[in-house]
């Protein structure tokens, strides 16, 4: 049963399997993420059991929240049209609501009778209950019964919800989810200036807006604060599973099948200690499954993915919740994260007065610890500022028009002017424009830089390697001896000869060629799936040049 890294032969074959999976996902769809969920003011949920699939081939008996039969939810964002809400999913449906509203959540307990009552806690909300039976922490739904929770007192931000009944077992089994509260007011700073320009640029390249809209249809800010503007958003829920607990629960559920609620022996007695989790998941999936699309058909009970993509300069909101019982040091490669808020509470400068312009006081972190029951919001971006070389590999002496694009710095030094808004290198850091990195490059990129790259024969290429040090298909194609025709959104590239390098199959040199960064738990043993590396709490974040259209609906 225990799979281990026995030796390199086996480990390579597993890696190959992962690569094949990645390859398969690439061929089915180039998957992206966002923060999908269901929206409205009235939600009808059920708690019941199903099996979660894991990349080691196991199907893990679990419990989760899902949509009740007959409840027809509205999916958000509207630009993702493939949404479904089955009767059981992990995490539970992400509930998307707006500050100031009143929301009702009706929960029906369809768990096995011997599992007993269940419930939902909504930390951070004022909760009124009706129906159900009295439980320790809140009103509960008895087997087959229902309870209704009415939520008020909303503050914007990301919040967790989870079972308040025998949490050591029920949360472990999968009874948790997220509520996203959108601000009623979007600051004008988030819909003008650069924020507006970024939206316009998305439109120029045929990209849709995948941000969540509040009840009045407004988008663009996580909070009513000028520093909470964002161009793109993702949600990551971290949890672990100890397969022994799930196996034991299933055995006992089977042994008590058909028992009457409350009858002697009609209960579970599953030991939740000692705890030895083998699965480490983001949004209910382990790597590489987390990089498959949202609502992928092969995961009927794990609809949400973890597969962030972004363009240089975009402000990216990450909503992160600790849903398990352990803390995880979540390391974001590529840049720091500004923590905006904890559990929906903006962290503001103490001396300042409240308002849209209040400065932030949350820390800047490259490792953001996830904590059980705690949600945080943060802003991340990547621009390449300070690399000291031109990431786009521009070459003023090239015959390729994309290699000779201009870079006109704005007040912050970025290429964001009106002319740039249709260019591949929108938001380039202009101080390094045309600056070479290689002493004597092989391809059509500028020479005279500081570094010499070794003979490619002594290197091993990664599955997400773009094929060159440079950003985007045009630059990569030029760097490796291929050719591109057209300019900006008419660019079409053909790699030839020895390119693309073998193995770079998850980040095609001729269509994406993004900069890939690993976002993962830095408790490194958690980037494994049941002792198999790679796996677990790991995803690849890609920064894409504007040539690549990020379509979160796929």
């Amino acid at each position: 049963m225990r799979e281990t890294k026995m030796n390199k032969t086996i480990s390579m074959s597993k890696l190959l399997a992962v690569v094949m999976l990645a390859l398969a996902s690439l061929f089915t769809a180039t998957a992206h993420a966002s923060a999908p969920g269901i929206t409205g003011t009235s939600f009808s949920l059920t708690a019941q059991s199903a099996y979660l699939t894991q990349p080691d081939g196991q199907a893990i008996y679990s419990w989760g929240y899902g949509c009740s039969a007959g409840f027809m939810p509205t999916f958000a964002p509207a630009t993702i049209t493939t949404g479904f809400c089955n009767a059981m999913q992990v995490p539970g449906p992400t509930l998307i609501v707006t500050e100031g509203s009143t929301v009702t959540v009706t929960l029906t307990n369809n768990l096995p009778t011997s599992a007993g009552n269940t419930s939902i806690l909504f930390p951070g909300f004022h909760v009124a209950t009706s129906g159900g039976v009295t439980g320790l922490m809140t009103q509960e739904a008895a087997p087959g019964g229902s309870v209704m929770y009415t939520l008020t007192g909303f503050s914007p931000g990301t919040h967790a919800y989870y079972s308040g009944t025998q949490g050591d077992l029920q949360v472990e089994m999968g009874l948790y989810g997220a509520i996203i509260v959108l601000p009623a007011t979007i600051p004008s700073a988030c819909t003008s200036g650069l924020a507006a320009a970024n939206v316009a640029v998305e439109g120029n390249w045929g990209e849709s807006d995948f941000r969540l809209a509040n009840a009045s249809g407004a988008v663009g800010a996580a909070y009513d604060n000028n520093h909470a503007c964002y161009d793109r958003e993702y949600i990551f829920q971290f949890s672990e599973m100890d397969p022994r607990i799930h196996t034991q629960a299933l055995a006992q559920v089977r042994a008590t099948a058909g028992c009457a609620a409350g009858a002697t022996g009609c209960s579970l007695n599953v030991a939740t200690e000692p705890y030895h989790p083998g699965y480490f998941m983001i949004n209910g999936r382990s790597m590489p499954d987390d990089m498959d699309p949202n609502y992928a058909f092969q995961y009927p009970h794990q609809p949400y993915n973890g597969n962030p993509h972004m363009h240089p300069g975009e402000q990216v909101l990450i909503r992160v919740i600790g849903q398990g019982r352990w803390q995880h040091p979540f390391h974001e490669h590529g840049n720091h994260v500004r923590i905006l808020a904890r559990d929906g509470n903006l962290i503001l400068s103490p001396a300042a007065t409240a308002g849209e312009t209040t400065p932030l006081a949350g820390p800047l972190l490259f490792t953001t610890t996830t904590t059980p029951g705690l949600a945080f919001d943060g802003i991340f971006y990547w621009t390449g500022k300070g690399l000291n070389w031109d990431a786009y590999g521009h070459n003023p002496t090239s015959s390729d028009p994309n290699a000779k694009l201009t870079c006109t710095p704005d007040a912050n030094g970025y290429n964001t002017g009106v002319a740039a808004q249709t260019q591949i290198n929108y938001y380039e850091w202009c101080q390094d424009h045309n600056k070479p990195v290689q002493v004597a490059p092989f391809g059509d990129v500028a020479s005279g830089g500081p570094a010499t790259l070794p003979d490619a024969n002594i290197l091993t290429n990664g599955a997400w390697y773009s094929g060159s040090p440079y950003l985007g298909p045009d630059a990569t194609t030029r760097a490796v001896g291929g050719t591109c025709t057209g300019v900006n959104n008419t660019t079409s590239c053909t790699t030839s000869g020895s390119t693309p390098p073998s193995g770079t199959i998850a980040n095609s040199p001729s269509s994406e060629a993004g900069f890939a960064f690993m976002w993962h738990s830095h408790n490194e043993r958690e980037i494994t799936t049941n002792n198999i590396f790679p796996g677990g709490m790991l995803m690849m974040m890609l920064v894409d040049s504007r040539e690549f259209v990020i379509d979160e609906s796929m």
């Binding site: 200036g193 990664g462 900069f515």
Partner: protein, 545 residues
Amino acid sequence: MRKLHQIGLLIAFTCLATGVASAQSFRVQCPNSTITHPAALNDVEPAYTGPTTLSAPSASTFQAPTANVNGAIKCQQISGGDGYATMGDGTQTYLFSFGPLSGLAKIASGQAGTDSPTEFNTINPPSNVLLPGDPATTDDPSGTSTPNLASFTYNGAVGQVPDLDNGGAINGHVDPRQMLDVGVMNGNIPAPLMAIDEDDEYFLTLSNVGMIMRPDLFEQHTVHFHGYPNASAFYDGVPDASVAINIGGSFTYYYLAPDAGTYFWHCHITPPEHLQMGMVGQLYVRPRQDRVTGDLYTALQNQQLDLRTACPSSADTVHSDILCSNPLPAVNTGAAGAATIRQGGTSGYAYNDGDGSTYYDVEYPIQIHGFDPNFHFVGMTFNPEGFADMKDKYFLLNGRSYPDTVKSGPLETQSSDGVNHFSQPLPSIINITAGQRALLRISDLDVSEYQTLASLGIPMHVVGYNAKLLRDQAGNNLDYYTNSITLGGGESLDVILDSCAVRAVGGACTTTVPVGTYYLYTPNLDHLSNDAENFGGLMTEVHVN
């Protein structure tokens, strides 16, 4: 058995040499001059008086420095391979590890192995034969573990020799024999210390010398510069997202030093394995403020004129940058830079604070780590490795457990090649002259659990976190005092221990804390052990002298 392995390696290299024809697989890089540092030689950072002047933007060329060039060029070479370390209970533990291939004498004395171009490109004279185990073999020829660190003095790039095919030029051409003699089985824990200054260009060459004890593994290695803002994927060291270095090859990582702060580095191949096995090291970037003479606030205002490091007021919505590092302090304290900093002195600032609040008299890198002896044993003996039940039993500060943490000088371990190596060069004794301040640059690369470090007696003044100054967008300092800090793997934090009990306005110490020994230890009490020994572990001493 040892000889067999060496022969095997020899055969491997012979095959490589024929297979890759004329391509040189091992090489080093350290230019004296670049387009960013155009002077003929860039050994020393000049004083910081303001941003580098750049030529005007143009369609046909790049913006080159024309005046006021800041920073210098720094180079370093490391080996990727294996080795052995000695645990607090005397156990010899197998490592996958990095070792020094430049700055060897400096590493042995507990300093960073980072070189200037002149140091790096100094050729080892043929008469000075580098021996397996060096510098330990030369410093301690009788293997008594009482090395004389004055014996081995070479700090250049091991293996670099004149390129006779190119008129004897010093161009990174190497003699692989020297690199293998020194680099094989020479792993260090922690891996070689790196220290650079803001505005430096840094060339780090990783040469993969192979793992002698695991000839079944054709293991690549990489370097991940953990925490570098706006990194490129190419030089980020993630094998999945870039390239990885095969055995017998060298790869040079190139970075312009980012914002000042306490970073760290590690291999990113199969991280749960390579990090647990010991491929972790320390790295910090010293601030421009160390090179400032005069008013610090004015100097930080000058840095705002450099778009690369500007951190405009958060009230300025046009210029606001949510991730920028160093906003001007809310209060101008009038603090002035000390002219002695960075000119042979040990003092400095942790960050570009503009108000002197991160001043220290002496700095110490402290890396927290943990070893699971079972994992290391199976890692050496070709057995299946389990990840989920990894359980550390040795708790390490700079690769050592108490009482080794307070043993001065490098720790020696005899490897399976029969010679002693400086396996753990860094003690963790914190020496402070009474009344002075010590900066602890603490990083954690434990791969299985969070660890807490507490201070008994002297409060911990936390000034930085994750390589950023603790300051809000309005310029208010968010530093705080505590008696313990908790870090997960992949985090860093800056603590100042002030051995002054009472400071007068202006900073002079009027009453020091009592002279004596204080302790840094973990309140995770089960971590105060060395495997079966129940006293040791994550603990060291602070000596106020």
